[in-house]
Symmetry: D4
Subunit: 249 residues, 8 copies
């Protein structure tokens, strides 16, 4: 994976500084720690404040606590998504500085202060019900060191509300457009700005919204250039990608 390291290993082997067997073992053991039910990556360089990420849904409280403990040993900040209150309390019992963002269902543990970027990401929602997904995106991007602005409830059925916030939207480096139902917000925003737009369909709605399918298809078919789509309700994925783009990857 990491060519430099592999070259160095080869050189060490060549120069007899390392046995072949140790080299083989290192290649296998280095990049993660095996907990049996999960394997924790620990090959990320310990950049200032860059968090390790845990997707908590489908894991027991015990599993999350064990993973967090293991990560804390490496000195990482932590971002736990899709965490309900019970999981948070279990984590807090072990690590009192854990914080809970209840709209976003995110647990964060900050080990180092991050300096935020000057350029910012704007998170836009069509309605009030889309806010939890939007907050998941926003908190994620903030934990990754980005300045984030929020513009909520500006769906296209009242497009003047969108235009009233046009300055803040067009001033952003990346736009995250969060919408359920007809998902038209992404197309309209995509037509107004010359920046990458990450569209997040939400499962908000009823009837023919079919759990977000309607917004998803709408966003995939957007005529506006410069738009791409993540999974339904995937605020985290949008925040992560937006951070990559905003920070020059």
């Amino acid at each position: 994976m990491n060519k430099e390291k592999i070259k160095k290993l080869l050189e060490a082997v060549k120069e007899n500084k390392m046995s072949i067997d140790s080299a083989a073992r290192m290649l296998k053991d280095l990049p993660f720690k095996d907990l049996g039910f999960a394997k924790i990556d620990n090959h990320r360089e310990i950049r200032t404040g860059y968090p390790e990420i845990i997707y908590c849904a489908g894991k027991t409280e015990e599993q999350v606590v064990i993973i967090v403990r293991e990560m804390l040993k490496m000195g990482s900040s932590i971002l736990g998504t899709r965490a309900d209150k019970k999981v948070y309390e279990a984590v807090k019992a072990m690590c009192p500085e854990a914080e809970y963002h209840d709209v976003a269902n995110i647990i964060t543990i900050r080990k180092k202060e991050v300096e935020l970027t000057d350029s910012y990401i704007v998170v836009v929602t069509a309605g009030t019900s889309d806010i939890p997904v939007a907050e998941e995106a926003a908190i994620t991007a903030q934990m990754l060191g980005n300045r984030v602005e929020r513009v909520f409830d500006v769906g296209v059925a009242g497009i003047h509300r969108l235009f009233a916030s046009l300055d803040i939207i067009t001033g952003a480096n990346v736009v995250i457009a969060v919408a359920g139902m007809e998902g038209a917000l992404a197309s309209v925003v995509g037509g107004l700005v010359d920046k990458p737009v990450i569209a997040v369909p939400t499962s908000v709605g009823y009837g023919a919204s079919f759990g977000g399918l309607s917004a998803l298809l709408s966003m995939l078919n957007s005529c506006a250039s410069g738009t791409a789509v993540v999974n339904i309700d995937n605020g985290f994925g949008a925040g992560y990608l937006a951070s990559m783009i905003n920070k020059g990857n």
Copy 2:
């Protein structure tokens, strides 16, 4: 169906002016003419210029010609939708005043001049490829006696083009919004006007547009109040309903 007529029949029977059997026969024979493969309604009052309608798809040229001939006997104007050029030529051979609207694939035969309404219907499309469906709606509404305005290629990816035509759109009595792909036009227009919006999804697009499904779902989920949807590519249905609304039914 028609209570007045039924009451009169009952009275005629009561007053012995008509035998029970004739009454029964009349109830059955009155409203249409049976051609074997098709049954032509002839119960519409002969209003000035109101056309009879033929859906030509799935009928042979011979069938269409026979139906048209039968309708012409009643002195009706005629509107033949989904007619390809061959069908038109077969009809024209029998009735030289038949006209063909090739973008809309419509045959018309005008028996009486219709006076157009003052109030108008506006037909709006998202793109150039949506024009055939839009023309089907527009020609239909015109044949039914409505003034129609057209505003084409104003999809939301370039929303300034939509706004430049806002006067003509907001001045209409009914809006027909025709769009494929993400179908966002209907929502945006629905949020801008206080008039009924009839949304027509089109099968324009590729990939995840799934033959118009994307636009259909998007339009059904529109957050804008006052919008309803017809079948994919159903320009005729939109034009017909718009006419009902514009003319006070």
Copy 3:
């Protein structure tokens, strides 16, 4: 959006009655009030009794109460849809004249008496289980100032029941046809009347009704001219559009 106002603003600026900056600020601030999680439109003219509308699903009780309070300050009547009893009680605690329509799950607060139209809208259902959606449509239309007639449980499996109410149906200005399962009611009614029919598929049914998909597709494919469809279970949307059509928009 509102050309008159924009022209007046431009003139005021030209005549030096207003600074450029105030003009810019007015353009942005005028049309709504920002509550952070929601933006309330307040640009509707205060017509007699015309209500402001809140879609309560997906909002917390607190959010609904705040929005209602803000709207009441503007003197508006209020129509809160998809509101459960708890939301109603929270609203009632703040505003004792709030009423609850429990079949329709609607909260209403009437600030002015509305005079009902002479012409009426008829709401027709196929079965007993479709009544909640039908009531959402009916209450909506009534709050918007329309006379409404109800004809329930006249599905096509017992079509004589439908015909027994034919007078009241054909006498209406607009028909709202509410049906789940096979949704055939809309087609049959559409073939019987010469008025706009707004079809509302419901999620009533089981098995291959797939949450209303069956009725939705059936209604979209209706052969009857003059029919358009709203989202599954969207009684509100049907009532709103019917009101637009009945009141001449």
Copy 4:
């Protein structure tokens, strides 16, 4: 399969009239003839005029001709469905008395005259485009010895046309209702008669008819008791089942 025969075989073996090996071979060889690419059943008793059936789609002309020749050796009448003109001509070259029903795409070869039933099956279609499927059902039922009546183009958008034929429909022993698009015909007919209704969805339509899916779902959800559904465009299956019911199986 056939218990009588198996018992007789067992008895013959017991009484030493037949060797065990012949018995085994008979059990295997009796019921069909193997052509390599197809296996022809020949275990149907040779009832008067009861035809053997070939589904021609997906078979080459040569394959069909070979199968027909083999069947003729058994003295059977033949019913070949989904046969295009080319297949028919190949069959006719071998067997000149073969007839072609071009609307239904059926080849028939009658070896014995069949006496038709007194009771009859009625085949009803919603539109003109549904006739080919209806004819497949009608010809099938006729070849199987049933009197068949046809009532075409009586879709629910002009329900008076359906009522005008009510006598002939209610007089039938079984109703086959053929309809595409919204498929409402089956429900309406099912509500009007007290006889079994076999609903045949057709792929007629466009847009949200999705190749017959709309009519299929609609028919499956029919509220009318006494209705069952066959595959989209499966006129043959409907005709066959209707014959079973009409003839007391």
Copy 5:
């Protein structure tokens, strides 16, 4: 609807035995009783023991009780499907002779003894989990006066179990085949018998059974002639249709 009655009405009017207005009123009032939320048909002739039917799902206990009371006034036997225990208890409180079939979720009230047919309907299930749907079919058919045989848990994964019951299956006049998951039972049974097979897909299964869709599609595509399909889990519909066929309609 009922031609005899209409003729008699016309004659009564002609002979001055009845005023026109009464005739009109009778045509409207005769066939059902309007309870506001439901309309009860009372035009069925009171055949020996033939029950009135109530689909209880989606109705409140109060509504069911009112409907039952009204039906009892007409002296009908009653069959209430999809009734949970609470509904049953409410009915029993009013009418103590009500019986509950808890596997089938059916309430029955027998007002007259029915003599069962000699010929019988067989209800076959693939698995144990399909029994509730099968019982809905069986109880329905019994209440309608049919002898019913049950053959449960003979799915095709152990086809010898099916063959062991072949005598009872092939001896039936109509077969109801109830199966979830892959639904192959209907095809296999359809290939073994020369009687009408009514296939009932069930929502039993998981994963790619998609709530019964898999079995539904499988049954619709059955290669066996003589098979038709009802809605997923619609045991009632199958029992009703089977009765029609078994009793010669």
Copy 6:
């Protein structure tokens, strides 16, 4: 079914050692025991430790207990899948040596010790949430006498984790690849090994995973040769098939 036995029966009949009627009865009675609601196969030879299998979902506790008791009489080991804790406790009350595998929701009763194969099956999961399905596969394969290795949480988003376990994966005789969401694990593993890969899509995920549909389609479309797919979440089926392959069927 079993030709040998049938031949012997025929011979016994021929040689008058058995009456025809007994032969017929034996053919019917031999292979299973009828419990009314279920039919238990007892035709499996009692191989060392080979268990009888019960799919517990959709069966009541009583039904499972009765089936288990009947199976124990035959001396079989037992494998009960999809069993919740309550079912287990009911079984344990009757048979105290019953064991419960709570991650896999499996009840086992071992009557004979099984010797495990030398060759092994490896069960690989993409994530932690896929473990329950994987355990269902693993316990099944073990009960059937196979050595099983587990490699969990090696999804392709961290492909180095997969490579670190490559030795154990490539050394297996059969690979079971369990993954939800995008299901890519099956393709990657399929490309790395020259052994049969049984892909198990899981319903793990959210949004556009549509209950496992995404993983299912992905796995079916795998470009890697040597892969086949079982139903979503069907760990049992994968374990059973893997055992067949590993043990040379």
Copy 7:
């Protein structure tokens, strides 16, 4: 849309340098040219070599030629996507310097030389059949001024081929991953690089690939952070967005 320009207009009006009417007209006329069937945007600043874009599918040759001519008047370079050879020839007849990229179905007309970026975009495909979509992305990105590298036929079924190109992939600023069938390439690449990955599902495949749906769902569910998806076969959209990201928007 463009706040600067609007402010300047307001100032010009205030200072009486411009009449209100001209200001209004300018606001409307400025941003595009209306061709009746299409509206050409001409508000893009004439950056060095930045092309105007035409989506040719669904437009007639004449329409494309007229649009191109109009764009050339503005001195723009041109990028015409989804153009078949006939359209190209019509364009070439008018503008001989037009070039055709036949694998990508793109017409380009370069008016100015563009200097390419140092950082590059890599376009990766799973198979040979994905190349046309990949080329659409690559040519688009190149026309927009980006250095582009191509790595084709490195699907996960032969993952060593992917790893052999890992240097060139990890060295890119943005990755475009193009794949049909199971679409696993995007997940694997997303797990290997720390750069934004734009996933393009293609309609390559058969059977359960359902026209690209399989790859689309797979990519949306990717567990790899930093991935977003565009419409099926939308190479242009991917190239455009990649350019935005690579060039710092």
Copy 8:
């Protein structure tokens, strides 16, 4: 990928027999040959007669010829699937010993004679139209060195035909069950044999077979243990996997 080789490389480097750079280059260059549009694997050991495989669909004739030529240089036998006649002729022009299997659309070039296995694979089809897919499976398995038996047209609608071939089916080591429409064959066969069954759904059918979806779902839901499914029409995949299982992988 290949641990032995990597270890040897490391040792060669350690012992200074190879430079680090050559080692790196070898790791990259070894396993395939890059043709630009395709990358040919050449790391398979040249086992007796084991063919290289080309999926010809979506490749031009030129591309196929170039790939074949390159493979022939390595002395491989070749199996080209989904090849139409034109592709075959282009290949034959270059390599005259190429053979064409026209039912299966397969090109084969045998470089070495393969000895067939004693144990055999049986390929079973439900109908005549499934034969092309079955032949793709059969030819594939034969080219890979397996004895193959064919049993065609034994669908469950005539289950006695299936039973007549039961000996040959139960005697196989692996069963490939090929069926379209309702796909029940796989379940029935799976219930009859104790061998692995590879189910291949085909796109044969019409209407609600939805291009093979019906058979696919049916097979995935098979209640018979020991069954797994490949993509619709994927005869090659089934033949390849069957060979792996039959030959002990």
